[in-house]
């Protein structure tokens, strides 16, 4: 107990000066003149608007990735005291003085800087030499594309940081496993693996690839653990449980937590509200909730409602009608019923109001006490302003001839009988006696006579229909689809008997206070679902490229051009590193296959421990490259060169590994080794030289003459901007 009295307290620290120096140089290369250029550079325009939304606490929806990355950038803005007042609309726009450029760009720059010592650590954790580790760090340091990407307010460098951190902590963990499982550092590195994996996934969905890689390496290790018969069953179980918790449960919980914080932060309604369901919108401050706050919950006979389509594509819209009728004859010669048009209208309008009427009674007001409408009830829908009944009949719809036309029934000069009875089906009911609820219930209207279902077809009507959206009766519903479901958005109990009074009432806002909140999980799942299914169709960009062009660096991206001079910033890689990285991957693959086939014939070229190291290094580095690169061939979205950077960072780790392997195992004589070393030195210095030559395009700090720029255009496909005068 009192040992410290007898012996002195000794603190021994081990400082690896290499790591310190690497960190220092990394910081220098990434932080030097960070606020230059003081203008919006490329995708900063994209992330910037979300930072502003965070500062103003306004809800937004971005399908490019989960919110953690945006929140990190916003944290920079918060610490720098950014008020969110900047119009992010143009690349190259000068930042106003209220934008804390330094603190906004700080976090990505730090992440980029720390990747350098981390590369060192990873290679040494793979049990390769100190020299190889230094090589990896050096390459990471001088890679121009990584420098450019981390000096700006972009997310790739943060993603790379967490990818590498996940790999590093996993390696540390599995090295701990060998000598002292369940010790403190074992737990620490295991937990850190899970946390950094979920951070990577939280920044961009791409992080999933590295996560899966780590998971599968962990699974292989676990499988060996199961086969280890020296361990007791209980011990194996504890091992598996610890891994499952740290690598599966913790990341999942953290991921949800990101969304939790995101939704807590963004509580105000904003420009992306319309994409979300009514219930979600009502949970935001301002916007829809201002209108719906006081509404009665249960829809009753006599209720006045607006009906929003649940699917809401191509546009969110409300069931609508107006006095104009369908044209007698369409342009293609087909006839219509010439009845009043029913459409779906994407704007709020008094013509969006409908009254729910009981077919058995004549009154259009809510009786007291109100009689709620339930699942399975037959109702009539009366258009508020024209008092006509929603009707459908066996006439082909204007643009979707396989479906029935939906109209508001006009009862004069007409030979067709009214068919205006609709049976109400609550889609998300819990029991068959559920009451129709405002906002929360998704309902379908099934036509009683023809069993057609009221549906938004998605087509725009021509000029006679004022380009509003077509509504039809779907005769052959093949299962549930959002376009056939509707929900009540605005709602009030109708009080006025007379048409004139009612019109006044329709124009007035709704009252009665009644607050209602959506649970977090419901909001989370809706938001996540919308993010995954949102499709942006603008598929072409001047600087978009294909995965094949990345490996050979046949493409670049012009990020920024000085408004007056020719100083410019490009995303452009170090050609030497990219080429040798590709080469190293090919060499690794061939050597690996060669060794594998030979081992199968019981010819062991490598000692067992060297083979194990070689396999693990390949799984982490070559595997990391493959999982971060190959999936892009299957993706249909617009791709850019920066999507390749995570894969590149793994390739950089592979390079020194392969070189050291060649040196240790393939060079048979001292002469060959010396030769190799000379080659490596030459190659390294050429990489440094290239890096230095491209430096003006990386930092954009130096004006170049047109001739110098032309001289830098090493490939015809590079797009370097030369001013014409």
């Amino acid at each position: 107990m009192l040992g410290f009295l007898k012996r002195p307290i000794v603190l021994t620290t081990d400082i690896n000066v290499n790591v310190v120096v690497l960190t220092g140089v990394g910081l220098l290369s990434r932080l030097w003149r960070l606020t230059y250029p003081r203008a919006v550079v490329f995708d900063e325009v994209y992330y910037g608007q979300y930072i502003s939304f965070y500062m103003k606490r306004v809800f937004f929806l971005d399908d490019s990735g989960p919110p953690f990355g945006h929140m990190l950038l916003a944290l920079g803005g918060y610490l720098g005291g950014f008020d969110g007042n900047f119009v992010w609309n143009r690349i190259g726009a000068e930042y106003s003085s209220n934008v804390p450029v330094w603190s906004l760009r700080l976090l990505p720059a730090l992440a980029g800087a720390f990747s350098v010592p981390m590369a060192y650590q990873i290679v040494s954790e793979l049990h390769f030499s100190h020299c190889a580790a230094m090589g990896a760090a050096l390459l990471m340091l001088i890679e121009n594309a990584l420098i450019t990407q981390s000096r700006l307010m972009l997310l790739e460098s943060v993603l790379i940081f967490f990818n590498l951190l996940a790999v590093l902590s996993f390696l540390k963990f599995s090295n701990c496993q060998k000598h002292s499982p369940f010790c403190l550092s074992w737990w620490f590195w295991l937990a850190l693996t899970g946390v950094s994996c979920s951070c990577a996934v939280g920044i961009k969905y791409m992080g999933v690839f590295t996560y899966l890689l780590v998971l599968s390496v962990a699974a292989v290790h676990a499988w060996h653990l199961i086969g280890d018969r020296t361990l007791s069953n209980v011990c194996v179980f504890c091992h598996l449980l610890a891994r499952a918790v740290a690598l599966l449960v913790v990341p999942a919980v953290l991921y949800v937590l990101f969304f939790y914080v995101h939704l807590i932060l963004l509580y105000r309604s904003g420009p992306h509200d319309q994409i979300m369901s009514s219930a979600f919108q009502a949970s935001l401050e301002g916007g829809l909730s201002r209108i719906t706050q006081g509404q009665p919950l249960e829809v009753a006979f006599g209720s006045q409602v607006t009906l929003k389509n649940v699917f809401g594509k191509p546009l969110p819209c409300w069931l609508h009608s107006h006095q104009n009728t369908y044209p007698m004859i369409y342009e293609n010669g087909r006839g219509s019923s010439h009845q009043q048009q029913v459409t779906c209208y994407p704007f709020k309008d008094v013509n969006n109001w409908w009254i729910i009427k009981d077919p058995g009674r004549h009154q259009l007001v809510v009786s007291s006490p109100p009689r709620p409408v339930r699942h399975g009830d037959v109702v009539q829908l009366v258009h508020g302003m024209t008092t006509r009944f929603l009707n459908t009949h066996d006439v082909a719809a204007p643009l979707t001839p396989h479906s029935q036309e939906v109209s508001c029934y006009v009862d004069y000069n007409i030979s067709m009988p009214a068919q205006n009875l609709w049976r109400l089906e609550i889609v998300n009911r819990e029991s068959d006696t559920d009451v129709w609820k405002t906002i929360l219930s998704e309902v379908r209207f099934v036509h009683v006579n023809t069993s057609a279902i009221l549906k938004l077809s998605g087509a725009h009507l021509p000029d006679w229909g004022f380009r509003q959206l077509e509504v039809v009766g779907e005769k052959l519903p093949r299962g549930y689809h959002g376009s056939t479901a509707w929900n009540v958005e605005e709602h009030r109990y109708g009080q006025s008997q007379e048409q004139k009074e009612r019109e006044l009432e329709l124009h007035s806002p709704t009252q009665v206070d009644f607050s209602r909140n959506l649970s977090f999980m419901a909001r989370f799942s809706e938001l996540q679902w919308r993010m995954l299914t949102l499709r942006s169709d603008d598929s072409e960009h001047k600087y978009s490229s294909t995965p094949l062009e990345w490996v050979t660096l046949d493409t670049n991206i012009a990020y920024w051009l000085h408004p007056r001079s020719s100083a410019q910033i490009h995303l452009l890689g170090n050609v030497v590193i990219w080429a040798s990285g590709g080469l190293a991957t090919a060499v690794y693959t061939l050597l690996f296959l060669w060794y594998l086939l030979r081992r199968r014939r019981q010819i062991c070229d490598l000692p067992e421990d060297a083979w194990q190291r070689w396999v693990l290094a390949g799984a982490v580095c070559a595997g990391g490259w493959a999982v971060n690169y190959l999936p892009f061939f299957l993706m249909e979205k617009t791709l850019f060169l920066y999507h390749y950077l995570p894969a590149l960072s793994f390739q950089i780790l592979l390079l020194p590994v392969v070189l050291q392997h060649v040196n240790d195992h393939l060079c048979r004589s001292q002469l060959q080794r010396n030769l190799l070393s000379a080659l490596v030195v030459a190659w390294c210095s050429s990489a440094c030289h290239v890096s230095n030559a491209l430096r003006p395009l990386t930092y954009g700090d130096k004006e170049l003459s047109p001739d110098e720029l032309k001289a830098l255009r090493w490939k015809n496909s590079w797009d370097i901007l030369i001013r014409k005068h």
């Binding site: 093949r478 376009s483 001047k542 014939r601 299957l634």
Partner: protein, 750 residues
């Protein structure tokens, strides 16, 4: 069924254990040894009982086959009208009989076989196959349906034999056969003129022959080994030749072959030369042979279809010149483009069409109010353009001038022949693709401004080369703005007559949208040469037809506001497909799996994963299993594993597909899933029986279990058979309906 089952069970007790897996051959099941020891019967009786057993096996196989044929051919002629996709595939069969060219997204073998069956059975190709519900009247359609049903019937014996080989257990094989025979979905899908029975026939044939050659592995290079290996290759070619889905079974055979070779390589008793021989044999039979056969089907396809037909427009000009009746066939035109020629310009991308203009202006508010330029798929006078020099307006057709050829890199003007306006572009945004520039017709009688100048470039050629009609891939680069003429492929609204938008794109990326070729070429001063010399070679048309097919497949995108079938719907039998009839007065056929079979399959997959991982972990932990359990778990892990792999390969890729999907895409996977069910339940019941010590009880557990599964499926088939054989009368929600009470899910609409 019951007597057959009994025979099966006795037979199974003496099942032979073949195969090269060491543990299996080394350790025969303990009970077999016990049985032999306990019955010291004379040798003769053993021989006769073996013979009896062999006869029993054959009889059982015959019974299974017979039952399968009986169910598939029962009421095959009903309904006497076109059902569902018969309208496509019947029509395509007719095209082969009439030899008219058409385009389809699937490779040709399946439709060729349908055509052949129709031809042999006396169908003359005159029926129009217009839409589902059309009556066949006097046309002979039974030959084609019979052919599909014939192939569909073989699925069950194939599955039976595959399972028998994998599990060495008759009850498992019988169970599989029963599941498939009594599945209404498989039955329905086999009864019509569709590609699916043909596809599934080849998939199952490949699976069976692969399993067979695996079990011949102890006698490599013997006659049966070669036979099954070759048969695998042939079936693979067949599967891929019917639909691209055949790739999945190729993948499975490939994986199996790799693991096979891996084992051979690790066997140090084999010399490297022997391993090399193995490798060569597999390359020959599983790569070279299928590829050759696959290409042969295409060669026949192109040979048979030599008349112009509805598919012409999808293909390039050079391709069309092969088809008799097409205006490019045997046409003769001047070979090199010259100034003054009248030409049509076709976009290189499929289904974009010819550069077109007409006397209508872009409407107010959409760019400059000048004449529209579009692309148009049909041949028309408004597709004609005159190619002129940019700086002179003299008539190059004046006989006093010498002929001057257009060369790569020349600056030209394109004048629209009918309206005498020049192809023009400027810094206005295009009507639909806002980031591109608008293209218009401008000028009067050929006089315009410098925005009418285009540089003509041949892709991948040097400057100064002449430009070949049909062959050269050319681009038009606008001189002033530097943009490239292209078509976005988007449909213009009504004002543009729903033709396709033409733009000038500032992005110089080379895409097919901005590459054109000259198709018609009229120049009286130049000699016409026959286009026969320009006909594309077979590899070229093969490549082109694949590009067109792939693009066609990618083009089948689901619409936003429609209900679409999702892959997760399929295994749970969420919703079927209406083959025929909607209303209560119609004769209705509804493609839906027998829910009992399908849900049993679903349960089996879950049970398999559970029991498989328990066994695998136990073995990895080094648990000492009794010999009997060890044998059974080998069957479960190896045999079951192969089938499970088949199921996964035929199911999971659909989650990644962007094209529109249908319920019937699941059926190949469902075959594998049923085989898994057969193996799993037989093995589980045996394990159960083993764990109960008393041998009589043990046997009865197994017998009762298998019997009840067989009878259960048979009964469910009795309940659901109207789905496949057709039903009339009220819909199922009506209590009067014969199907009342059977609509177990609300999403089934029969």
């Amino acid at each position: 069924m019951p007597p057959a089952t009994g025979g099966g069970l006795t037979g199974s007790e003496l099942r032979a254990r073949r195969g090269r897996c060491g543990p299996q051959t080394a350790r025969p099941a303990s009970r077999d040894v016990a049985a032999e020891a306990a019955a010291p019967s004379p040798k003769r009786s053993a021989v006769s009982s073996q013979r009896l057993e062999a006869a029993g096996r054959w009889a059982l196989l015959a019974l299974v086959t017979l039952l399968s044929f009986a169910t598939r051919f029962h009421r095959l002629e009903e309904p006497r009208h076109i059902c569902w996709d018969e309208t496509h595939f019947g029509k395509m069969g007719s095209y082969y009989i009439n030899r008219t060219f058409f385009f389809d997204v699937h490779p040709p073998l399946g439709k060729m076989l349908i055509g052949l069956a129709g031809y042999l059975s006396g169908y003359d190709g005159t029926f129009l196959f217009q839409k589902p519900g059309d009556k066949y009247e006097h046309h002979s359609y039974m030959g084609m349906r019979g052919f599909c049903a014939f192939l569909g019937s073989w699925l069950i014996p194939f599955a039976y034999l595959t399972v028998l080989d994998l599990s060495k257990s008759l009850p498992a094989a019988l169970l599989t056969a029963a599941l498939l025979t009594f599945d209404t979905g498989c039955l329905t899908l086999s009864q019509y003129i569709l590609l699916d029975p043909i596809l599934m026939f080849f998939i199952m044939a490949a699976m069976l022959s692969m399993v067979k050659y695996n079990s011949c592995a102890d006698r490599p290079f013997s006659a049966p080994w070669w036979f099954w290996l070759t048969l695998t290759g042939i079936s693979l070619a067949g599967a891929l030749g019917v639909k691209f889905v055949g790739l999945f079974i190729i993948l499975q055979v490939g994986l199996n072959t790799i693991s096979d070779l891996w084992h051979l390589l690790g066997d140090l008793s084999l010399s490297l030369v022997t391993v090399g021989k193995h490798l060569t044999a597999r390359i020959l039979c599983l790569i070279v042979l299928p590829l050759a056969l696959y290409m042969a089907t295409f060669a026949i396809h192109f040979m048979v279809l030599n008349k112009s037909g509805p598919g012409d427009g999808f293909f390039s000009s050079a391709f069309q010149s092969r088809l008799s009746g097409n205006n490019l066939h045997n046409a003769s035109v001047p070979e090199h483009l010259a100034y003054g020629s009248v030409i049509t310009v076709k976009n290189f991308r499929m289904a974009i069409g010819y550069l077109h203009s007409h006397r209508h202006l872009y409407p107010e508010g959409i760019g400059a109010r000048q004449q529209q330029v579009t692309t148009y798929l049909h041949k028309d006078y408004n597709n004609l353009w005159i190619i002129k020099k940019h700086n002179t307006n003299s008539d190059p057709l004046d006989p006093s001038f010498p002929v001057e050829f257009v060369r790569h890199g020349d600056i030209i003007r394109l004048e629209h022949k009918e309206t005498s306006r020049n192809l023009h572009s400027h810094y206005h945004e295009a009507p639909l693709t806002r980031k591109h520039y608008q293209v218009t017709g401008y000028g009067i009688n050929g006089t315009g401004d410098s925005n009418d100048f285009w540089r003509i470039e041949v892709v991948n050629r040097k400057f100064g080369n002449r430009i070949k009609v049909l062959r050269s891939r050319i681009r038009f680069i606008h001189l002033v703005t530097g943009c490239v003429l292209g078509s976005s492929g988007k449909v213009l609204p009504r004002w543009g007559w729903e033709q396709l938008e033409v733009t000038c794109t500032p992005y110089l990326k080379e895409t097919l949208n901005s590459i054109w070729n000259v198709e018609d070429h009229i120049n009286p001063k130049l000699p016409n040469i026959s286009l026969d010399v320009l006909q594309p070679s077979f590899p070229e048309i093969l490549l082109e037809s694949h590009m067109v097919m792939i693009r066609g497949n990618n083009g089948l995108k689901p619409k936003d506001n429609e209900f679409t079938s999702k892959p997760w719907h399929w295994p749970i039998n969420y919703q079927g497909l209406r083959f025929s009839g909607i209303n209560d007065t119609d004769f209705r056929v509804y493609l839906l799996g027998n829910p009992v079979v399908w849900w049993l399959n679903l349960l089996s997959i879950a049970l398999y994963l559970l029991s498989g991982s328990v066994l695998a972990i136990a073995m990895q932990r080094g648990a000492q299993l009794p010999a009997e359990v060890e044998g059974l778990s080998q069957v479960l892990l190896r045999g079951g594993g192969q089938v499970l792999l088949g199921w996964m390969l035929h199911y999971f890729p659909f989650f990644l597909m962007g094209r529109i999907l249908y319920f019937h895409h699941y059926f190949p996977a469902m075959l594998f899933s049923s085989m898994l069910t057969g193996i799993l339940w037989d093995t589980l019941l045996r394990l159960c029986a083993w764990s109960v010590a008393s041998s009589r009880l043990a046997r009865s557990i197994h017998v009762v279990g298998v019997l009840s599964l067989l009878l259960g499926t048979a009964y469910s088939f009795y309940l659901f058979h109207p789905l496949a054989y057709g039903m009339v009368g009220p819909l199922a929600q009506d209590p009067q309906s014969p199907m009342a009470g059977l609509r177990w899910l609300e999403s089934w609409d029969f």
